[in-house]
Symmetry: C2
Subunit: 402 residues, 2 copies
């Protein structure tokens, strides 16, 4: 077996990948990616909760029923969403072409698409590209695959995390795309994780859900997903570790590693966000429930007024207070506290004065910092990562299609 | 009786107003307004649902219990929010100074504030200004009051609507401020309506709630109000119309006029929004309930990706579909239709082709247009007005305090 690449989907044992230009994007830009495992293994998936689901998402949900996977094919430049039966047929053709040429069952091939919504997928270019794509499959192809799934992203996003399960080293690799994700409004986030761990399908699904909740779901809003959002994790067991079972220490170690990999990709998406100059963590403490804490965190994290203040490095903490109050979570404003990194700016619902304002002016100049909100009600907490809203955000999104 | 001004709060019989500079804002900018009625009358109010409520809102809620009003005093430049007991005392002082000098009961004086959150109100400047303000009260003072309540607004917003109740002409006048309102995120919206109609307090409250639901609440999101949002309507009965009673034709005429006045002010707020270049109506039809229709309309209207596409005149209808799908309202995407003015771009969940895309390119160039969304489920409908998200929005909000 060749030496592993150090990062990305081919970092675990037994995975190959490739990325090519098949003609969806303008010449030279990679737009078709393939990830394969040497052997069929368990696959887990978490998809958009958007009711306008793209064709590939509809197809993957069906294929996921058997929870076995072998290959993932992804195109960029076209979302294959709002394309009706034609779109669903195109997604199925993508899968069946790969299945036929790799001689694997159709339902073991998963499909992803990202790009403009509502355009018919140029399926002929994709089917023409698939043999080329397969011929390029290699242990080194992970970096090409990482590039081929990008749209407005500035940088490819790859990860590899290793952990020891029952004395055996297990590797989790991953790639992601998404720079619109930073506004939880609607932009595709795709992440593909691979692992050589031996794990049962149901256990893998459970682990993936847990990891996504602590990572990708902390940079977006529940329900505020796009038509195409997809996270898949394909496991092949080639690390030959003792099979991971739920409720064991090994399981916790695996979830920890999977969460770490997912958080690295999620934060990479934030940092590479459209027009982003800052990444800020919103930590909410002292809530009665985790759901309430999350709701406050989400409301602050998605406030345009908070996000423009971050961009302007304008320490306008009143906007944070306003967002907290409109979250819909019952609270007593006289118990609310707000700190910017270690500077306590609001105590018992009141500002702590101009001297403190001058201190948080300095905090707002940092590239990354934490806003800690105390509700003074209970012991539950939650966090979100957010970014600023800049001129470049508007520029990029005002002319996405052109 | 002197001739009415043609528009604003002094348009109805028996109202006077004034606006002065008392020293909260930089020199020369009006920052203190007063509206008074010759006689005490019914008053109705609708306030922010934000749980972080500013001191003047807390005070007004108490004063509104007796549903009788005589005067409204409003300062701009400081929101008197997140200011604790000191802030509440300051709001009470504003009211009591006006009450004492006009010799009216304290609870007949209402208070409004708008501006930066979390700063202590310079109450001495306000109390010093009140005698001057009272001395300037006049039938012509409405335009000064309209200017004195503004913050980042570019233009004062005034309205007057006349209707006939039982043979008698009744006038409704109003002023409003709010340019941050266009993003429902958090920015103060204040509106003060006056009328010479004879109407019982409970009936006036009912009428105001109805008018606000069809106007100011269509340019913001329920619950997404600021710490200071306030709409008050003060009636003095001096038109001497037969008293308006709920459930009558007169009541419907009055609500119609009050709604018209409120919509004019609400749309003026939209058009004057921070960095706004477009005002777009989102009309949702074919829902099973009004609440569901409203939820879809709000989700589309507040989508940053939709709003940046409006600014860029980029007819990216996929973003509208994405927002519809993530609204949380159960739907069948194959029944969804979307028109831009009279161009049907999405039918049964699918794009109608490139020729139509070229047509909606033209629609996107209009200053005002309507996006009509059909859900194909039922007969309920709702609408929202939204605006685009521009460079200027970011510029204004990135440095609001400086």
């Amino acid at each position: 077996m060749k030496k592993n690449e150090t990062t990305g989907v081919t970092a675990p044992i037994g995975f190959e990948a490739a990325g090519i230009h098949c003609g969806i994007k303008k010449a030279g830009n990679l737009d078709l990616a393939l990830i394969t495992s040497e052997v069929t293994g368990p696959i887990a998936g978490v998809f958009t909760q958007n009711q306008v689901a793209a064709a590939p998402v509809q197809l993957d949900r069906i294929h996921l029923r058997t929870r076995r996977g072998r290959a993932i094919i992804v195109n960029s430049g076209n979302a294959n969403a709002c394309t009706g039966k034609t779109g669903l047929a195109a997604a199925r053709t993508m899968a069946s072409e790969v299945a036929r040429r790799l001689s694997v069952p159709l339902h073991q091939v998963f499909v992803g698409s990202t790009g403009v919504i509502g355009r018919i997928l140029p399926i002929d270019r994709i089917t023409a590209g698939i043999p080329v794509l397969i011929s390029r499959l290699s242990r080194q192809g992970g970096t090409h695959a990482a590039r081929a799934i990008l749209t407005t992203d500035l940088r490819p996003k790859t990860v590899a995390v290793r952990t020891r399960i029952g004395g055996t080293v297990v590797t989790i690799g991953g790639i992601a795309k998404g720079s619109g994700m930073i506004h939880p409004d609607m932009a595709t986030m795709l992440a593909y994780l691979t692992t050589d761990a031996a794990i049962l399908p149901a256990t893998l699904q459970h682990a993936l859900k847990s990891a996504v909740d602590q990572s990708f779901n902390c940079i977006t809003v529940d329900g505020d997903t796009s038509t195409n959002d997809t996270v898949l994790c394909l496991a092949n067991g080639l690390a030959k570790n003792p099979q991971i079972r739920q409720g064991t220490r090994d399981y916790r170690l695996f979830v920890q590693a999977l969460t770490e990999a997912s958080q690295q990709l999620a934060l990479a998406i934030c940092r590479d966000g459209e027009g982003v100059t800052k990444v800020v963590k919103i930590l909410v403490r002292g809530a009665t429930t985790v759901a309430a804490a999350k709701r406050v965190a989400v409301t602050v994290a998605t406030s345009n007024l908070v996000k423009t203040a971050l961009f302007g490095e304008d320490a306008n903490w009143g906007r944070v207070m306003g967002a907290i109050g409109r979250s819909g979570v019952p609270m007593n404003q006289d118990r609310v506290s707000v700190s910017f990194d270690n500077v306590l700016m609001v105590r018992r619902g009141m500002g702590t004065g101009l001297a403190m304002e001058r201190k948080i002016d300095q905090v707002f100049k940092r590239k990354e910092f934490t806003i800690t909100i105390g509700l003074g009600q209970g012991r539950a907490e939650a966090h979100m990562w957010t970014t600023d809203l800049s001129y470049d955000y508007v520029r990029i999104n005002a002319s996405y299609r052109s």
